[in-house]
């Protein structure tokens, strides 16, 4: 009898990556991670939990819960792969197994379509994670706004001030500043301005304090201000970042100017470097919109006997490309325009003027989960429809065979 040939390395790899075992393992891990992150969220907050469990850079996560057993006073170290990593592996597995490897034919068409819907759902998640953006636009009645602001991400803006006027700022992005939570300092080169900025002593939540004259020179301070580290709040919107920067012209490291930046400061801190005035500001990321929104009327209702809004709507005029269009935005009835979606998120009645807060989301894959669901419904309908039809056909054939023959 001839011996079966040993599968090649490539075949073995393909079989493993497309196998049921890997799929079930990934799904079980996702279930566990979702459960654990839900349990951690009340204490740690949504932002922190999303970062630890679901961020692209969270390769592994160690659950931090009270009921985890302890050894010698320390919680048991149980590392789990991060959800992004598991989802990436699952994506590869579903693609290779559910679309490439699966037996193709009319009998399996429904299953193939369903697998395709799951692959597209994971792809939607990937696109959303890397390319979506959201912010909040606050507008008072009668006023116009043309920007949204991030809820949580801080940036450093640097602009030259010419004849008392601010020029368009250069922006040090939030993801580049995030590294400062792990390293002491980081240098940013601004070649167009000929400046280098060293950012250091980053604090995720801080208070800016005035330094007593007697302590000047004894503590880290700039212009008589220091930073005091504060406890990080679970609600990230309540955290106010702070940092020190040292600015100098490129090639003149010994002549750096030290400044302190704090997220709560409404105005920029200025420095004159090489005869030019620059403004530096630590601010939640400002996101310019390709249109303006004028809030014509803002109406809200409170729950009886409370000051909590129960429903609100805004009549706005969207101004873009020299044209104006009126629109009404209500809770659950957003406005969509060129990939941007504006939801009514907040409403406040400040006595003389009402204010509407619009949550603005730009997500290229905004509608993909909905389409994936439709595709999944189609696939399952086809598959179970064929199964049902086959069952009915088989049953009626069987009944005909067992019917007595009439004389």
């Amino acid at each position: 009898m001839a011996q079966a040939s040993t599968p090649s390395f490539a075949v073995k790899t393909f079989r493993f990556l497309s196998g049921f075992g890997l799929a079930v393992t990934c799904l079980l891990l996702l279930l566990i991670l979702t459960w654990l992150s839900t349990l951690e969220q009340p204490a740690k907050g949504l932002y922190e939990v999303q970062k630890r469990y679901y961020d692209a850079e969270a390769w592994f996560v160690v659950p931090d819960l009270d009921w985890i057993p302890q050894i010698n006073g320390k919680p048991l170290f149980i590392p789990l792969p991060g959800a992004y990593l598991v989802s990436a592996v699952l994506f590869v597995n579903l693609f290779l197994g559910g679309i490439i490897r699966i037996r193709k034919g009319w009998k399996n068409i429904g299953v193939v379509i369903s697998h395709f819907s799951m692959v597209s759902l994971l792809l939607a998640g990937f696109v959303s994670h890397h390319y979506s953006k959201e912010g909040i636009m606050a507008v008072y009645e009668g006023e116009v706004s043309d920007y949204a602001q991030s809820y949580t991400e801080f940036t450093i803006e640097v602009s030259e001030i010419v004849d008392g006027q601010k020029t368009p700022p250069y922006v040090v992005q939030a993801e580049d500043l995030k590294a400062l939570e792990k390293v002491k300092s980081r240098v940013f080169e601004l070649p167009d301005l000929g400046l280098n900025i060293k950012v250091s002593d980053w604090m995720r939540n801080s208070a800016r304090v005035e330094v007593d004259q007697a302590d000047i020179g004894k503590v880290l301070e700039a212009d008589g201000f220091a930073l005091q580290m504060m406890e990080v709040q679970p609600v990230e919107e309540l955290n106010m970042a702070g940092c020190f920067i040292e600015v100098h012209r490129q090639g003149e490291e010994t002549q750096a100017t030290r400044l302190v930046l704090h997220g709560a400061d409404p105005n920029a801190v200025t420095a004159t470097i090489g005869g030019k005035i620059y403004g530096f500001r630590l601010i939640r990321e400002i996101w310019p919109m390709p249109f303006q929104v004028r809030l014509d009327k803002s109406v809200g209702e409170y729950y009886p006997g409370t000051t909590k809004p129960s429903s609100f709507q805004s009549d706005i005029t969207r101004i873009a490309d020299s044209s104006e269009q009126a629109y009404r935005i209500r809770m659950n009835e957003p406005m969509r325009y060129e990939g941007y979606t504006l939801y009514q998120a907040r409403w406040e009645d400040r006595g003389e003027r009402a204010m509407s807060g619009f949550a603005i989301v730009k997500n290229p894959s905004d509608q993909w989960p909905k389409y994936s669901l439709y595709i999944s419904i189609l696939g399952l309908t086809i598959h179970f429809g064929m199964k049902l039809g086959g069952f009915i056909a088989k049953s009626s054939k069987g009944r005909k065979k067992s019917d007595p023959i009439e004389a």
Partner: protein, 191 residues
Amino acid sequence: MQGYGKHVKTIMFKLLCLGALVVPLLVSCRKSEKVVVTQKRILTVADEANDSLVAVMPPEWRQLPGTNFRILNYRFGKDGEVFVGRSRGGLLPNANRWLGQFGKPALSGVDDLPKVKVLGREGVLLTASGDFGGAMGRPARKNAGLAGVIVSVGDRLLTIKMIGGAEAVAAEQERLIQFCESLRIENAESK
């Protein structure tokens, strides 16, 4: 034994496959210590004044973070300060409080003081030099100078105060007056 060895080999092989999938992602995420920033954003409504009080900072000054008592906070020269704040209690008592910090006698009225136009109103200009007795968290200092403007706005006062070395303050006084005259209110309520 052979079966056990094959089992271990299978596990090692599977880990290798997963590693090959994961390592490229790991490597691509290493952060360099230096970042080049070239991205700009356009100016928006956000870049307009945050406070209703708008000021044009002279290029010779530097703007610092504000504090509870300083809406606008500036530095000039070696250690000169200019700050804009809001106060209560009447023009004359506040003027005498400033003069008292320099050991000067109290005034009986402000009519004879030089006037400066601020926000469409008449403010009074105060000057003094000598030994500063210390205030607002600042230590006592010899040969100090004061130049400042106090103006009534509604039921409150707007104060623009300059403190520093006596010669430095005297040299900056004209610029201070121009700064005061350039102040304006951003919103419609400008009276």
